[in-house]
């Protein structure tokens, strides 16, 4: 067999094996982290903070669903680095 082809076969075997091994580790590590975090830190403070802000948006609650409010508050939170505060939400008429 051409030595280049045998090297390519070797590369194929090692390459695909490495990819699957690494991805198996990714899955195992991911699951491990999720189990650990669910046990050790079950409370998401950031989510709680967002929820708190949503609950205080009295005037917008009737017009928007909680999911939409959470998305808006989260976006403002990320954009302002946690410093922004949503006071009122209005629909803009085009």
């Amino acid at each position: 067999m051409d030595p280049n082809i045998s090297t390519a076969l070797e590369l194929l075997a090692i390459g695909m094996l490495t990819v699957f091994t690494i991805l198996t580790f990714v899955v195992l590590i991911g699951n491990g982290i999720i189990i650990f975090v669910n046990k050790a830190f079950p409370e998401d403070k950031r989510a709680k903070k967002i929820l708190h802000k949503v609950l205080h948006l009295e005037n917008a609650k009737e017009k928007f669903s909680n999911k939409k409010l959470a998305a808006i508050v989260s976006a403002v939170d990320i954009f302002t680095g946690g410093k922004g505060k949503v006071v009122e939400i209005k629909k803009i008429k085009k």
Binding site: N4, I5, F20, V26, D44
Partner: protein, 372 residues
């Protein structure tokens, strides 16, 4: 007459050849694709302009163009200082040998990509990661094809195959190590096909998927077969994930760490939130933009007429397309095989998103699944 003769020599007219004109034409096509068609404009525009710059003849005092000079024993460029390179071969060679040849820019770009990546959806569906592995099959298929063609040696074939991974910085990084003389065509092929994802994915999907498979609704599947474990605190999971994964990769495949390590570092900066937001903004914004400008210009600078008019370049353009298409097909077929044995079916379109061409591959797959 002597005055006119001297004037003529001062200009670049004497050095224009038919090949130069063809290279300008290629440059204009790439500019058109980037500006008008908006195909990866952030990369195609710098690459195309870099290509034009190095194909304007007689720019340097020596009469040479600004094109990247391939390092050989005769020119001894690898033993020159950066100042000497700048002086003798121009600014683009200085940028190439300081930023690209050292492997500096691809990891910087990966850091920016990491700072823009959300691992959340993957963490919620971890087993989907396996289909990404099957999407790497195009790389190996193309290595074989390139070797059988007899045009490429082992290193060149491997560099060509990487186009199938559909990841620009990885293609560049690998090519610098394995076959740096092919950097221009490989980078252009990789980025062009990434830009053509909206054309290539539907083509492969049409060939391999039935209408019934396209209609598999994964939300309904999730309702029918609920997940065993929910994530209670995704924020903490997202912070721990890049740290632990970097450690594991450092131990298992240390050679991948310059790229993957930087990707995970960028991601960590993003996930920490407020306290590192300035760093993640810099990594994903200004730093990424600076790196992209220099990377694009330097890749374009390798596209001299001498480097381009070669049978290998044509092989790379054709082979790159097949590497890309086979990778997409590999992902789709792997999901189809999984569906044969699993009760909870997965839409095979997920396999097409195993390409690294983020977020375009996912967006295109989503558009195929939900046309309106």
């Amino acid at each position: 007459m002597t005055i006119f003769d001297n004037l003529f020599k001062m200009t670049g007219f004497g050095a224009i050849t038919p090949c130069t004109v063809v290279m300008w034409f290629i440059g204009f096509i790439l500019l058109y694709l980037g500006i008008k068609k908006k195909y990866e404009p952030l990369l195609l525009v710098p690459i195309a302009f870099g290509l034009l710059l190095v194909n304007f003849p007689g720019v340097l005092p020596s009469g040479e163009s600004m094109g990247v000079v391939t390092a050989t024993d005769e020119n001894g460029i690898m033993h020159k200082t950066l100042i000497e390179i700048a002086k003798e071969h121009g600014i683009l060679n200085f940028l190439y040998y300081s930023l690209i040849k050292t492997g500096f820019l691809p990891p910087i770009i990966f850091m920016g990509v990491g700072a823009m990546t959300d691992f959340g959806p993957m963490l919620r569906n971890l087993r989907l990661a396996f289909f990404g592995a099957a999407a790497q099959i195009g790389i190996f298929t193309m290595i074989f094809a390139a070797l059988f063609s007899g045009l490429f040696d082992m290193n060149e074939a491997s560099a060509l195959g990487i186009i199938g991974g559909a990841d620009g910085p990885t293609a560049i990084y690998t090519t610098i190590i394995l076959a740096d003389h092919l950097l221009g065509p490989i980078a252009i092929a990789a980025y062009s096909y990434m830009a053509l994802v909206p054309v290539v994915i539907p083509m492969v999907v049409k060939l391999l998927m039935s209408k019934k498979e396209l209609k598999i609704n994964m939300r309904e599947m999730d309702k029918k077969y609920p997940k065993k474990r929910e994530i209670k605190n995704i924020h903490t999971v997202k912070i721990l994930f890049p740290i632990i994964l970097a450690l594991i990769i450092a131990i298992l495949v240390p050679s991948a760490l310059p790229l993957v390590g930087m990707l995970l570092f960028g991601n960590l900066l993003k996930e920490i939130g407020e306290s590192t937001s300035r760093l993640s903004t810099t990594a994903s914004g200004p730093l990424m933009n600076i790196a992209t400008i220099f990377l694009g210009l330097c890749v374009g600078a390798t596209m001299t007429a001498e480097a381009f008019f070669d049978l290998k370049t044509i092989g790379i353009i054709v082979g790159g397309f097949f590497a890309f298409a086979i990778s997409i097909a590999g992902g789709i077929i792997s999901v189809k095989v999984y569906n044969l044995f699993a009760e909870k079916k997965i839409n095979p379109l997920i396999g097409a998103t195993g390409l690294s061409a983020v977020p375009m591959a996912s967006r295109v797959a989503n558009e195929i699944a939900f046309p309106e």
